[in-house]
Amino acid sequence: MSADTFDIQAVSDPLEPRDSDVVVANERSEFVLEVTNFSVDYGVGDNMVRAVNDVTLHLRRSKVLGIAGESGSGKSTLVYAMTRLLRAPGVISAGDVILNVTNPDNETESTSVNLVTASEKELRKVRWSHVSIVLQSALSALNPVLRVGREFDEVLKTHRPDMSKVQRRSRAAELLAMVGLNEDRLVRFPHELSGGQRQRIMIALALALDPDLVIMDEPTTALDVVTQREIISELHHLRSRFGFAMIFITHDLSLLVELADEIVVMYAGEIVERAGARELYDAPRHPYTLGLLNSFPPLHGQRRELTGIPGSPPDLSDLPQGCNFYPRCPFRMARCEHEAPALTSIENADRGVACWLHSPDSPIAVPVELSRTANPARNSAPAERSRS
């Protein structure tokens, strides 16, 4: 089904069963998720706000894709819409999301499901067993009146009906052990556990059915640094053991550089830069990425004044005519005011940037901060006016 003939009704009315025309078994695809020209709106008509605009993403198996951006950049909307969890007034207005799920019987084959057109019945099959999600606030994600064990029990009962009660119980204990928690936590209520423990339980729940893809929506934002470090190491460890692919959403770019293989930076609903994690850190190409990287005070080196990004985050209902970042950009040119740049590949196929500075007919040379080659020592950047 192409984006042109797409019928909004089909998305907003999940109760109506539809035969999906894209379910095919074939050789296992190297991508676990392919998102093409995906757009999401809030509301319809004159008050419509486009929260995600024409996003294209590909995620390879067992890789980590990081999505970075400040609040309102559309990163959470993107993943909720992708998994069809977005509620009204959110509407998917264009695009396809193909999830290639591994066949349980034959690991070398995979089945493609278009999540945008899939019926509720098909979604139910795919959700949790093939794609699971860890939400930001673990306190509100766990049912406060249920013991933790019940949550595990219900998932397994629904998706693995042939398991016995004893098997379910031992699987739950096994899952808790995987995230470093003792079995006795199963009889606890969420309020009896600390924030870090609750988040571990969310991760264990997400992995309960051995999914192909795990989506993490700011799983560590509410935690302090020490707990965050523990959760991140746990994730490293689990991923090397089970080989699931992961989408990790956060506003903390330096955390992503450590964790992700590839990073996309979103601004006002669009991808402004896409690159390998190290490349993005060593050699950012978009002024916004550079600003984000410079927003974190460093742990070492001379103390100097940093400026971050001037101005305030964009208002989606009142975006500039040209480049969305134009009002805040330190390198803006006349062209940026009227023409929006598209995400264009530069240097290699995996790298893209949406900025006129990198177009061949740019009137000014690319500033030195945005033309660094990968792997210079970042600390050798010229010190600005020093303080202290």
Partner: protein
Amino acid sequence: MTDATLSPSVLSARHLTRHFTTRVPGRFLNAKRVVRAVDDVSLDLFEGRVTAVVGESGSGKSVLARMLARIVTPTSGELVLEGTPIPVRSKRTLDYAAMVQLVLQDPYASVNPVHRIRHALERPLLIHGANKSDVEEQAKTALARVSLEPPERFLDRYAHELSGGQLQRVSIARALCVKPDVLLADEPISMLDVSVRLGILNLLRGLCDSEHLAILYITHDIASARYIADETIVMYAGQIVERSHGTTLVDEPTHPYTQLLISSVPDPSDPTSQDPTKSEHATFAVADVGCRFAPRCPSAMDVCRVEDPPDFIVGEGHTSHCWLHASEPRAAVEMALPQRRREGEPTTT
């Protein structure tokens, strides 16, 4: 920048302690348990200096700020404001509030959503006895001080019309409009977007440098403390475990807890921080006897489990609450300290 050149402190806390008593459920005869939220903390806030308090959740840093603002009454200890001891058990006076102001963590929750920004700024002015005719002028000045310009544009807006960063500036402006000498900022940036955090930090630093405010900056982000603070204090379980001037604390941490905090910060420029084996399972267990950090400490010794260490002086203005620095086992420190030692420039404080 040494203590000798400083004017006397604006606000001093001496042996501040706050214990909370909780009931242990299910125990015989309502057994009580005492939580030592803040234990024997002394600190000084100086004119034109930023003092940062760093610690994870539950370390007592917010209770400390609230005691300094006299919202929470200390169990014991005393406060000295500009040389005058304050009877801490008495009620907070308006005069005290005019000198010491608190800025809270969540700007969305601390600005009244049903009133205009004008109300948030003018009300404290009226309470503190300003003339009705010139409150508007003063409110405008306060907004201009936090770089919300032009002020007229903001006065008649509602909280929901402003972004988080702008609201936090309003919150700071509200604290500033009664012309305090001391500003207590309790995690002022943790709820804000990354791109506007630096703006708030630079604003606080600027207020401190140009208007000689004494600022207490509370945070769990040790990198931001390093960025802004003149003195950094690390708290663990209600106690000060390490304190030092300038960037020394982060550059040369001596307490195992400080080292743990620093190594937890994501730092892509440091390849060792990506080592996933560093996971140690820490629970927030606090020892009743001995050093409070001993149950989590990677270099805990026998003495740590028996006796609470005193503060050892490990450098100029640099103290560490750890037995590793008792004169004998000093060598052990170097062994426990491989992580973030760096040959950066020597920091002069």
